[in-house]
């Protein structure tokens, strides 16, 4: 099917572009590692405090790293006219947009997933919470890319949309932050986390369905 071909072509192209711009793409990951490693230095030698803070520190850093990487989602396509060509494509824009969001997550979310356990050990997060940390990251980092996509699509046409983007997106990120870091916190104290994980799964699934359409509509408005 041509539309599936187009979908894969978008993902392939964006991954290739990310590879060619790897220095730029590594920024959010670098930021994530930097923020988490600075905390022990600032807090001092208080292992208990660090262990208690670990879920929150890791999640806040992951969220800020995601926010930092959002603008790159549509910016270069908007600037060089590729976005216009995507709008003119006979394929549904929402499917193409979903491809772009997935590629964005593969480039910015997946690396966080790989580094986070290492940083969690570094902060002394109890071993029993490690699996939950991973699960929340797997569920919630794609959610951050999806929610952010609507905000970026709305602000990409503005010359200075950076501040507005954070204002639009941060309130929507807060529930994700609460449930994700809450789950890791509970797991660290040995409590069940099914409720939090279920809510995150539900949020991810609804975002997968609900995000592409308004994002495509917002992009059409921004190109105007």
């Amino acid at each position: 099917m041509p539309i599936i071909q187009a979908f894969w072509a978008i993902i392939r192209r964006d991954l290739l572009l990310a590879f060619r711009r790897r220095a730029e793409m590594a920024n959010p990951l670098f930021f994530f590692v930097l923020v988490v490693t600075l905390f022990p230095l600032a807090v001092g030698a208080q292992p208990n405090l660090l262990r208690a803070m670990a879920p929150g520190v890791i999640w806040v850093s992951a969220l800020l790293a995601a926010l930092l990487s959002l603008d790159s989602l549509f910016r270069s396509d908007f600037d060089d006219g590729s976005l216009e060509q995507m709008l003119l494509s006979p394929h549904a824009l929402s499917v193409l947009v979903l491809g772009k969001i997935i590629a964005h997550w593969l480039v910015t979310g997946l690396p966080l997933l790989l580094v986070a356990p290492l940083l969690a050990v570094f902060l002394g997060l109890p071993e029993q919470a490690m699996g939950t940390l991973w699960l929340t990251l797997i569920l919630a980092t794609p959610l951050l890319s999806l929610i952010g996509a609507i905000g970026v699509a709305l602000t990409v046409g503005l010359r200075r949309g950076g501040m507005l983007l954070s204002l639009l997106v941060l309130p929507l990120y807060v529930p994700v932050l609460i449930f994700a870091s809450g789950a890791v916190d509970r797991a660290a104290s040995g409590l069940p986390v099914d409720a939090q994980l279920n809510i995150l799964t539900a949020m991810l699934l609804s975002a997968l369905v609900l995000v592409p359409l308004p994002t495509a509509a917002a992009l059409k408005m921004s190109v105007n």
């Binding site: 072509a9 006219g81 105007n224």
Partner: protein, 210 residues
């Protein structure tokens, strides 16, 4: 896909305002298969705005656009048209070939293969060059090569001759002429007068309204 013999682009009563300023109003024209429409007018007279309305990027403030008798949103318009604007629509980090392959994935295959198209725009042998190493004129020819590899009847070209040398301009004119001969149509803006005498050419002169 519409039969190219009967394809027409018809515009009726089109008006466009920009920042409270009237650019044009009650604009009527139609373009048939085998015709070229050249939009003329001073800077800021609304040529690009008109093209962007034809591409569906902007909503017209009044009026309708029809493709083969149907409103463009309800027809195969977006399968049958292609647009080359001020921005090239190519990725400078990707190679010529990667860019064209992606353009092909977004649309349907057209008359020429990528190899033939590169040959036609005199970029043969540049397949593996990243686009940022090309000159401005070569980039322009690359974005026009996109028209050749995808299926389309209507070309909408915004200043296709910018940054091209004399030879490049001749080349693009001959590509347009070949497209028209095969039953295609084109709408373009240009400050450069088309030098093709035997072309079925319409002109619309947009006057800047005060």
């Amino acid at each position: 896909m519409e039969n190219s013999q009967h394809a027409t682009l018809q515009v009726s009563e089109l008006s466009c305002f920009r920042d409270e300023r009237l650019l044009f109003s009650a604009l009527d024209f139609s373009v048939n298969a085998g015709q070229v429409l050249l939009l003329e007018g001073a800077n800021g007279s609304g040529k690009t705005s008109l093209l962007r309305i034809l591409c569906g990027f902007r909503e017209a403030d009044a009026g309708q656009i029809y493709w083969c008798g149907n409103k463009i949103s309800e027809s195969s318009y977006f399968q049958d048209m292609a647009y080359v604007g001020h921005a090239d629509g190519t990725k400078k980090e990707l190679t010529v070939l990667e860019n064209l392959n992606f353009a092909l994935a977004l649309g349907a295959p057209g008359k020429y293969s990528i190899e033939q198209a590169l040959d036609k725009v005199m970029l043969a042998g540049f397949d593996d060059n990243p686009v940022h190493t090309l000159s401005a004129g070569q980039k322009r020819r690359l974005s026009l090569a996109r028209l050749l590899i995808t299926h389309n009847l209507l070309w909408i070209l915004d200043e296709p001759f910018t940054s091209l040398d004399r030879q490049g301009i001749k080349l693009i004119e001959s590509l347009i002429a070949a497209h028209i001969e095969q039953g295609g149509m084109a709408v373009l803006t240009s400050h450069h007068d088309l030098s093709m005498a035997d072309l079925n050419l319409q002109r619309i002169h947009l006057q800047a309204c005060q």
